[in-house]
Symmetry: C2
Subunit: 372 residues, 2 copies
């Protein structure tokens, strides 16, 4: 099928990328002829086991794929560092060290800035909107076209939702305050932070706390209250900024080695498609279920919840969109994804602000008023 | 497993209800011994085919289950009225006329008010929060315990997100304006509307337009811009109220006849679990992807977007929570689900208002300011 026809088919069939890929593969001679071959894959996660949110989503994918295939296709999950490190997942999947991984694709922006669209764009779409762009706005197809040169493909398999802005010893209130701040920050957003004078550092989850404790860094962000509480940041930094504008959502990406994926029978491919979509709901919901009580514990123990000021937000917003224009001018892969993402975004909040946002606003105001 | 142990197991395994059910069934002698038996089910949807959102989600469940089982377990989907009417899906699944259905469980509140928790509670949780309560807050397990007496079980299989407040010839601005208004309204929320003087009527999708056109009803709500545009309401009513406080989210429920479900091999049960969770993301995303452009077309053609006034919202909020207290006092099944839902809700917005809501607020304000 041509790209255009493939998109049309996807829209008509109302299915995700795997269905179309499966259909396309059926036409070719399958590499594995047996109906239910025994296949064992290894999944390298970017997360430590202690983070039962994102690591839990990775485990769910493996467990469900095994159940769906009556135990014939099993995926064993490994925590960060068990086979390779948390930031080497793409390389390991690309070169076949492992068949699949569970990671955040923006970690790999050093190879190409376009990787960011597999996770989220700073000041971009929220989690529901990002999923909508991916599934119904052509985003995931386009992204997997980009990934072909890396011999991998991606499925959405979790989302942290909007993250927190991180832990600091001193609050950041002005554009001037940002300058010289050394901060652990995941992925591509470091480029935006550099433009406003910060010194971003990408450090895997398990190594952040010692750096913050020693004062090697001035601040650190990971995800949100529940995960951050486990990593212990509150013990060494008092001010907890929000929102994490660099991650208005954050997709956990399940990536497979493309050659290995193409060898799978169609129903094993379908198992990956359905299990990863289940993990998407499961991880989003997990964060929504556990963050409130963690936040209460943190605030109870002395954490100061501190919103970023409009000055800080505006400074970073402008820096972000200037950066996107610059990258777009010289990187066609980034530009293609960015233009599609931006067109979708221009409409997304137009709808979101009407029903959902008005309802959320009412509920928050009414309930807060009742409590005071 | 006892109920308590079963919940514990679910939490530990980090899996949905079907996994536990599957584990429990494995212990019993399976009714179907063959590994991949040929099974054909019929799915009765509550929706007309023209609504490619909710009907599309029903079709996706059937299509994916078939793919996951290599074509051995097929589910054929029928539009409202093809086997039974859109509001008779529960009866048809319960009595085995069809094996499964795709519906909104609050339609059946006439049998028991507790049915409402399978869809949404007026002034209750938003879509992400409802999923979190269902999956990680024990909601779905508790709901399926309730459903056992009806010989059915439910899987979440779609969500409309927050709905619109409906179409009216005259805007509703005061508590007085609500009195005597005859309105098509889905499900349980009619009880709240009755308390504030409205005259609610439950009418299936395809029959709403003629009633509104003839003036049999003064107003009508269905879902939101994209679906409502197809149903043609804008042609006969100018004012489009929001938000739909009666549906801050709305789960599309996939229900199966429990006896038929229990006969399935474990991997066919897993196929239902994963396919329905995929449909959950797919339907939410579909609405987020298509509502903006529909809203622009409607407003361009003369629709007046009209928020409910604080007076109307507060009047209905109070009526809703008074109603829940009254029902709880006499209906233990309702009380059990309501208490769990309420405890979850008391924390849910405490978290939501921090990261996600602050980020959404910034994006909406910044982008609107840029455009004016």
């Amino acid at each position: 099928m041509s790209t255009v026809n493939r998109r049309k088919f996807l829209k008509t069939a109302g299915a995700g990328g795997a269905a179309a890929a499966a259909a396309a593969t059926t036409l070719a001679a399958p590499a594995i002829a047996q109906a239910n071959p025994k296949i064992t894959w290894r999944q390298q996660a970017s997360w430590p086991k202690s983070l039962d949110t994102r690591y839990g989503a990775a485990e769910l994918v493996g467990k469900r794929v095994s159940e769906l295939t009556d135990g014939n296709f099993t995926i064993q999950t490994f925590a960060a560092g068990e086979i390779v490190g948390g930031l080497q997942v793409l390389d390991a999947v690309q070169n076949g060290t492992v068949e699949c991984g569970h990671t955040a694709m923006y970690y790999y922006f050093g190879k190409d800035d376009a990787f960011v669209f597999g996770t989220c764009l700073p000041f971009g779409l929220n989690s529901r909107q990002h999923h909508a762009w991916m599934i119904h706005g052509g985003g995931l197809d386009m992204y997997n076209d980009f990934l072909k040169t890396y011999n991998v493909n991606m499925f959405m398999a979790g989302n942290t939702n909007c993250q927190m802005g991180g832990w600091f010893r001193k609050p950041l209130q002005t554009a001037e305050d940002l300058k010289g701040i050394k901060m652990r920050l995941g992925g591509f957003a470091g480029k935006v932070c550099s433009r406003v004078g910060m010194v971003p550092q990408q450090i895997a989850a398990g190594d952040i706390y010692p750096a913050l404790e020693k004062g090697t860094i001035d601040g650190a962000e990971w995800v949100g209250p529940y995960d951050d509480e486990k990593l212990g940041f509150a013990k060494v930094a008092k001010f907890y900024h929000y929102p994490g504008w660099w991650e208005p959502n954050s997709v956990s990406g399940f990536i497979t080695n493309l050659a290995k994926y193409n060898e799978l029978p169609a129903h094993y491919k379908a198992a990956i498609q359905a299990a990863t979509m289940e993990a998407t709901v499961w991880e989003m919901s997990k964060y929504d279920a556990v963050n409130a009580s963690a936040l209460k514990r943190l605030v109870g123990a002395g954490t100061q919840l501190t919103p970023f000021t409009p000055e800080v937000m505006d400074t970073c917003y402008k820096a972000a969109y200037e950066l996107y224009a610059e990258i777009s001018a010289k990187n066609p892969a980034f530009k293609k994804l960015y233009d599609s993402h931006k067109a979708f975004q221009d409409d997304a909040y137009l709808w979101h602000q009407i029903a959902d946002y008005t309802m959320d606003s009412y509920m928050i105001r009414y309930r807060n008023a009742q409590k005071t």
